[in-house]
Symmetry: C2
Amino acid sequence: MLNDPMVLAPVSDATRVEPEKRIRDRGATEKAILNAAKALLAEEGFQNFGINAVARRAGCDKQLIYRYYGGLNGLVEAIGADLGNWVKDRIPEDTGGMFLLTYGDLMERLSLLFLEALREDPLVRRIVAWEVSENTEQVRRLSEARSKALANWLDRMRGSLTPPKGLDVVAVNAILIAAIQHLVLSASAGGQCAGLALKTSKDWEKAATALKRIVRGVYG
Amino acid sequence: MLNDPMVLAPVSDATRVEPEKRIRDRGATEKAILNAAKALLAEEGFQNFGINAVARRAGCDKQLIYRYYGGLNGLVEAIGADLGNWVKDRIPEDTGGMFLLTYGDLMERLSLLFLEALREDPLVRRIVAWEVSENTEQVRRLSEARSKALANWLDRMRGSLTPPKGLDVVAVNAILIAAIQHLVLSASAGGQCAGLALKTSKDWEKAATALKRIVRGVYG
DNA sequence: CAAAGCTGTCACCGGGCGGCGACATTCTGC
DNA sequence: GCAGAATGTCGCCGCCCGGTGACAGCTTTG
């Protein structure tokens, strides 16, 4: 009664634009929402990541996010599920025909691969930044998924190579991963890290060389 | 704690409670605001860091923040100014009576000192997390102040020790710093990093040992 | 004394947020 | 054909945000 619809004398003239009806396809809509969420997170970061923003981006009503994903939490969980396949998608499973004779060979290669992969994946970068910035249930889920995937990958790649004795490989690798992650995040946010410029590919070569030296130093 | 909301009890009757007048002291108020801001940032992180929250915490009206600091930007800048003295305040200037014979000795010690200092300073941790999460003017200022202070500190501590030749020390040190920062941030947020638990002091000993091995590996 | 300035407080604005109920339209099963 | 479910849309709510103008009380200055 408030708005008598027919009073609206719809744009009668030639400027008439078809209302672009959204097709009714739950599957497609769900995908659109998920993609919108991932793109939004990748591009804008977790700061302005919210129901309204995702809905706007997906071009649908936010109500559908509640219906199909149970709200933001569920949506984030869905993103986390994808994340399980991250390493699979992003990092070559085989070692590129190289012969990895030692654990040092392996870790050098994996470090560089990981660095590359992270540099090229804005979504995961944002998630890592999120992980170190908040400690909500949402983030914890994401973090868990990511770390599990990463651990599996490391394990698979190790193959039958035995790590050196007398060295806490878990701790050392954690530090290496931390270094890579922070390096990439820092570069992504400010173009540098602790005085080291990280913009041009030349900058990155220097970083990669230093990283190699570090890995070789500890793993021989 | 500061100003009970009971102040808004109207001037009713004999139950008149003295409204706890805030003393008029611009200097003290400015300090209160700055401290509130730092405490808030340290405890809650940059997520909900805003004019209203700071004013609430400082127990004063937000208008004063605009007047005295020119808004949040100015306030953040004031925080950044303090940051310049961070290393000075937090990290012993002398080397604790140790004889640092080699660059490796130095960097091992500095790494551990930096790790310790960061672990014990929630404010700077939040700032570092902020740095990798956003790229606004505010954050850039903070970041710059911090990195400058850090560089100065490294330089002072180096003294007359000459770094090894044939090694890009800037890059290597940047990676070491990145590792430490990410390790601490990760621990602070989720109690672990890449599968390495970082809660108990025993956990941290393992991390420190691994870090030493890495530093020694690259710097001898 | 009064005027002018400083300090602190309050109320209000527009806007975006998350969340929800109600409705419109289309599809499905009987 | 019809009822009910599925899908999509709309408008509203209460809340908090940043920002600003107006005002009240104290202090300094003349």
